[in-house]
Amino acid sequence: MAKKKTTPTTEETPTEVETPVVTETAQPETSQEPPAPEEIQDPEKEERRRRWLLLILLLLLLCCCGASLLFLRYVLKPAPLPQLLVPPQASACTAPTYVFSINEVDKPVGVAVSPDGQRIYAAESDGQRLVKIFNRDGKLLGSFSPPGTSTGAREPRYIAVDPAGRVFMVDRYSNAIFIFDQDGRFLDAIISPDQTLSKLLAEKLGNEAAKALVTNYDGVNLQLHYIDPQGTAQTLPVKLSDKNWNPLGVRFDKLGNLVYSDTTPDHHNVNIIPVDALKFPLATFEPKIVSFGASGSAAGQFNFPQVAVQDSQGNFYVSDGNNSRLSAWDATLKYRTFFGFGSAESALNLPRGLWVTDRDCLLAADAVGSTIRVYDVSKTEPTFATTFGSFGIGEGEMNYPVDLVVDLTGRLYVADRDNNRVEIWSY
């Protein structure tokens, strides 16, 4: 409050002089430097900066979303990081999705499917050792086995279905490939590279052979038991040529040729019986068999080859069981390379059944690894694509998967031996 200041007079008592009261206020410190000139605002530059900031924020947001998805993916299905990330050029060979399992089988070691996909065949290695027939829903339709055999006198292993729907089953006990129709009725058996039961009967009975009924083939004692056209039980000693064989795995290639693996001592190889030789009846069975591979562990050799399959380019792939690898052969049956061997995720432990999809994805049942490994064989060099299934008894888990097959609808069937079931997956 300003005090009023007055000039004192002689006679006046001096009055108070109002002096302004200065209220001290904080004064900003001022730089000693002279103030900078004002910046000239560039709207365009500002706009660009805003856009960059927005872009960076957007990228950060995308990264966060990606990380969240990755985390979610890991929570749903834990796996090593490389498996979680989708490579820039994703292979067409992906893993299928588990659907359900057929449990009415005893240690299945072979699985096949009819051309129309309506029938699934599973060969058992335990229990009654039958080949069981199921429909697509897993309902048991029937079963069959080599005629007149007891449980201990049959050892079904790999099976395959030809384009006409006939089931070819390797029986290790009789050392033969038995052939049945789609309902399991016995048709014939290939008992050596140049001999069938119908051929034997034709040689014995001539034109009457078709009326004979095979009741049992004893591949150990080499005897054929049959009912002759007159209804009398007969036994025919079987004398085989010197063409030895010991079939293990069977498949059909794209042309309908029968491809079987042979484990004759010192002659482990893969053989192809031309489709022309498989015209029924097989009474004049004289196939010109083409073979490739040899016994051993070197390149181009096998140690208990399991099955051989063919891709769309005509190349063959063989599961070389005891050598723990797959080998690739070109369409002229010239050896190319082996793979699935090494110390990586793509490595196989004990490859058994194989199948090639129409996308040239090679699926290999890794029995000891309890998983299915998938290789992309669409290019010159096979490359590992993915793996699915893990050890266990739960859904989607496996314990010693031995064989597998994919039908035309994209369904995959896996003979999950030690879980006593056939697993069904779907692409």
């Binding site: 960076i56 990228l59 090593p80 990081l81 490389p82 990330l85 070691v109 290695s125 055999t149 007891s150 449980t151 201990g152 006198a153 050892e155 292993r157 290790r172 006990y173 050392n175 004893d218 150990v220 004692n221 080499l222 005897q223 085989l240 030895n244 064989w245 010991n246 293990l248 042979d262 484990t263 004759t264 001592p265 002659h267 562990s297 140690n303 208990f304 399991q306 069981g321 005891n322 050598n323 723990s324 690898r325 061997f341 090494g342 110390s343 990586a344 995720e345 490595a347 196989l348 432990n349 004990l350 058994r352 029995a367 000891v368 690894g369 309890s370 050890f391 314990n399 010693y400 030690d418």
Partner: protein
């Protein structure tokens, strides 16, 4: 941003490098080299599915059956057949492995295909054929469960028998590592034996069917360094150069003082002398450590013809009969010769020195060691030790209060003459009905033939039971 991308890529590469798995290659039995991957065929260091041995499969049995069911090996022990392509002539007594469908000597665990019913004919029957496989009626249980082991247990003089229990797996008797163990990993060379039974040259042969030196024991071992070995007394475990020789009641180790085999260690079977109150050597030596170019190996061999340097006690001295493991005619099994190589060992019919060779004679495998029937008798006796008996044991008190007088199990009638090792499909129905005390157990007791007809193999006709393993 660029730095962030680079950092992410590096991080991914690092993660990928940590993801490893193990590979398996070839068959797993032996032949390990310094670049081997075979271990991974059966084992996993971190992700094993079977306990104890860190196996890839849930159990030893399951693992072995992955191949030995015919899909990875010719010896199909599930069905008890040798499964390859050679067309069997079926014209010779069983004994030639390699014939398609021929029964394995040991039988099978689920099925067998050897005939368990005598066809009643004398002599070789050329018209006979292999029967259809039959379900096993008794077998050595190899699923890891505890089972009784008959004719074993503590020695005692009481009249009540005791027997121990044992848990068996495939690897109790077979060494899945083949010859690897601690022995050489080089391929087999021809073994040459001297007339005196010593080792002249060559390397230890792979044991027959990868049988261990002793059941549940090691597969032999390599002794390096000094060949002058200390005297090892019975009942002790001795170590030489860090390798322990395992002592069992059946084997006794002593350095051989014979001039021809100086520096070697001999293995003898042992038996309990109830009078002396101690375990002593019994019979001829059954194995030896020899010195070969500074390396020595232990292996199992048939009973030798070399006179034991440690004299077994005699009946006159100790009141208990001993045996020198000769056959019924007092002959020792012949030694292999330098010209034949390997262990060619012909077994004759019971009590004779000539005649039809029974099946399962010790045929020389290609460069390999044959077990020999007598050797297998000793071998089985590692566990079933109270059954072990030599010639004449039917006449003399063994000192065992229960197994007092025994059938010869040493040479002329060894365990595998009557029993199989894996499983049999023979039928035994009268054991405890007519002769309730005939056996401690019901069932077919791994006998090759139905009921007691196995006795007829030696005590009846000059029968060659076709295809009997």
């Amino acid at each position: 941003m660029k730095k962030l991308i680079i950092a992410m890529v590096i991080g991914l590469l690092l993660v990928a490098a940590l993801v490893t798995s193990v590979l398996a290659d070839n068959g797993p039995h032996g032949g390990f080299t310094n670049t081997t991957e075979k271990c991974a065929g059966c084992h996993r260091a971190h992700s094993a599915k079977g306990a104890t041995y860190l196996l890839v499969n849930t159990s030893v049995e399951a693992l072995c059956f992955t191949c030995h069911d015919g899909t990875g090996a010719y010896t199909n022990v599930v069905d008890g057949v040798y499964q390859n392509a050679t067309i069997a002539t079926l014209s010779a007594p069983l004994g030639t492995q390699g014939d398609k469908g021929i029964p394995l000597f040991g039988g099978g665990f689920d099925y067998t295909s050897f005939p368990h019913t005598w066809n009643g004919k004398d002599g070789y029957d050329a018209s006979a054929s292999l029967p259809s496989p039959a379900t096993v009626t008794s077998s050595h249980s190899i699923n890891g469960s505890s089972q009784a082991v008959f004719g074993a247990g503590d020695y005692q003089v009481a009249t009540v028998p005791t027997y121990g229990s044992i848990t068996l797996e495939c690897t109790s008797c077979h060494d899945p590592h083949g010859r690897a163990g601690r022995g050489p990993t080089t391929s087999t060379s021809t073994f040459t034996a001297s007339a005196s039974g010593g080792i002249l040259a060559g390397l230890p042969m792979p044991s027959y069917r990868l049988l261990r030196f002793e059941p549940t024991g090691s597969n032999g071992f390599e002794v390096t360094g000094s060949t002058t070995l200390a005297w090892w007394a019975a009942g002790n475990s001795q170590s030489t150069d860090g390798i322990t020789v395992r002592e069992t009641a059946n084997y006794w180790y002593t350095p051989n003082t014979s001039s021809t085999l100086d520096g070697t260690v001999m293995f003898y079977r042992t038996r309990y002398d109830s009078v002396a109150g101690e375990w002593t050597a019994w019979g001829s030596y059954i194995a030896q450590i020899g010195d070969l170019a500074g390396r020595s190996y232990v292996y199992a061999r048939p009973a030798a013809s070399v006179t034991a340097t440690v004299n077994a006690f005699s009946a006159t001295t100790n009141g208990v009969k001993t045996s020198t493991c000769k056959d019924g005619s007092g002959n020792l099994p012949p030694l292999p010769t330098a010209t034949t190589g390997g262990w060619l060992y012909t077994i004759y019919a019971c009590g004779s020195t000539t005649g039809t060779s029974f099946n399962n004679n010790g045929t020389t495998l290609a460069g390999g060691l044959t077990a020999g029937r007598a050797q297998l008798g000793y071998w089985c006796g590692t566990c079933h030790d109270r059954y072990m008996a030599g010639s004449g044991s039917r006449d003399f008190n063994s000192g065992d209060g229960y197994y007092t007088y025994r059938h010869n199990s040493a040479s002329s009638a060894v365990c595998v003459d009557c029993h199989v090792a894996h499983g049999t499909s023979s039928v035994m129905t009268n054991t405890n009905t007519i002769y309730p005390t005939a056996s401690l157990t019901t069932g077919s007791i791994l006998m090759k033939l139905d009921e007691r007809s196995i006795c007829l193999k030696c005590h009846g006709h000059s029968v060659n039971f076709n295809y009997l393993p």
